[in-house]
Amino acid sequence: MIPGAWVCLLAPLAGALLITLAGASISRRTAAWISTLSVFAAFGGAVASFVGLLGREREEREVVTTAWTWLGTQNFEVGLSLLVDPLSVTMMLIVSGVGGLIVLYSVGYMDGDPEERRYFAYMALFVFSMLLLVQAANFLLLLVGWGLVGLASYLLIGFWHERPEAVAAAKKAFVMNALGDATMALAFFAIIWQTGTLDFQAAFAAFGSDSAGGMSQTLVNLIALGLLGGAVAKSAQIPLHTWLPDAMEGPTPVSALIHAATMVTAGVYLIVRAHPIFELAPSISDLAAGLGAVTLLVAGLVALVQTDIKRVIAYSTMSQIGYMFLGAGLGAYGNGMFHLMTHAFFKALLFMAAGLVIHHLAGEQDIRKMGGVRHAMPRTFAAFLVGSLALVGIPPLSGFFSKDSILASALASGGYGQLLFAAGLLGALLTGLYTFRLLFIVFLGPPSELVQAHRHGHGHGEGPWTMTFPVAVLALLAVVGGWIQIAGVWHPFGEWLDPIAVGREHLALVEPTLTQDYVTSALAVGLGLLGIWAAWAFYGARRRRAVPRAALVRETLEHKLWFDELYDSIFFRPAVLLTGALRRRVEEPLIGGSIDGVGLGARSAGGAVGEAQTGYLRSYALAIAAGVAILVAVFVSVQ
């Protein structure tokens, strides 16, 4: 039992409940600080759990505590159980740490919004849900956390509910995530059917023992596919990615917290957590890696033509999660988690720096109206530059270590891996290009009209300390966060995660050689720099149009490869047509009509029988007499 884990989980929930129940009796500022403190309390709990785990032997670093049976029947039980192991503690630290900084940032960002209380309650709810997701000790509780983060994401994307686009985006995000939940649930049903349990340890043990006989390969593949469906939907990978760019309708801190640092990386966590199942279904693992590679390329391309500052970063998030999928799918779990962590730092940093810009420009997000922001906001520019360099993977910033370790693992894992390696390298080029396109357009050049108009509008410079302080901390982390694991020098992060491996010593399936590491780094950094140079050539030196002119390419990219249109025409429209047809062809004529038919039939039958009611007493009497006579005759003849 590690009490810190419970503190970590329950503090944000308590914060959310407190804000909700107190309602208007506390001031909006108080609500904001309650929420912030509760998340930092969770961080304290996470640190306590981390320390508690460090004090244990390697074999004992897996602690399950059950509060009570959450759902059960006579022969099936699922507990409200928390699992504290290196993987969950890593996620707890990231979620509560980065989460705390972002909530603190929100204190400044949301200042003055009339519905601040609701916002901060939702934020605390989200952190609670995310912690539940990563701390769950069984699949069902994981799904609960999984669904609740989707809910919190829905609530926060649609926070400004008077904007129809925000409400539509929130609904879209929820429904696409529900689709992922559904495929995961199907996988869970199969797991129950086969193993009779949903506890991680018991289920993985059952999978390990049954791999020879028992379960068919098809079934294992289907289970892994169901899990992958959930991961793909939550992490916005192709083909279930279309909700993430739209989700930028939410407030910027929400984008930083949910759609960059934590929730969208849950898919990677799931693959690492369920690695015993994915390893039994190698084709599905390969599929995961392949989807990651496709996503990182497509998202990188689409990011090139976006004109909304947040959408560019959103596509970049998709692309980076593609790298993590690539790594996790190929068995480089530790490296995937490593990139997850550094990405949380620098991507939250980018979003929050972008938020400072948006805040400064009173909500404007269109980069075509920006330019020369550097002069007004030099420190923000510095933070954005740090984040961008980390994102592109320029040494010695954090992204360099984590991204290159994934690519090196890809290079080391055979022919398929090398194909993905090539895709990853191309992605590095694209990353440099789209990141610095954004940076050059927004920050360099002469100040645009809009920027000049806002230059003297704000007295407090680049933002209140609640906003600038978290940005500074994250900028620091984005610089140093990668130093905890340096290829060929030391691997404390990988060794820390090793105990979660089921049935073997080391977690990683592939171990690149030192040569592979260096070759990868040289190529990746070179291509990243090439991308930056290209961006400078196109957008920095000479101010080109923000969007290329070639019509077909532009249109394709602007429509995000027509995924929205495709889903609209193959799912939504048929569903609407089907529903209309059901109502017109089945509900009204058959169901409603049949009952009307019964009514009409009864009425006409009544009319026909009514004819016999002549009113002549004697005819009734005769009918009675005749009836009696017939009855008597029948009885007599039967006797």
Binding site: T614, G615, Y616, L617, R618, A621, L622, A625
Partner: protein, 102 residues
Amino acid sequence: MRGPDPSWYLILSAFLFAIGVAGVLLRRSPLIVLLSLEIMLNASNLALITFARLHGGHDGQIFALAVMAVAAAEVVVGLGLIVAIARRHLDLDVDRLRVLRG
């Protein structure tokens, strides 16, 4: 066993019943129809008592008593109706009394 054979009573009962039926079917005056009904009821009473005698039980006699009570009640209602009709100066003719509306 004293008296005539019970089958004679049954024959008499059948006769009475037939007379009653004929009266109901053929006569127009509601009063006579009511009388005929009474004849039918009494015919069935006679049959019930005969059967009670035949089987040596008392069930039939009890039934007959019940029938008498019902018959008395029915006559009250029937006569009441007839008086009511007569007061309204309607024809006392069952062929004309075809509708329930007053």
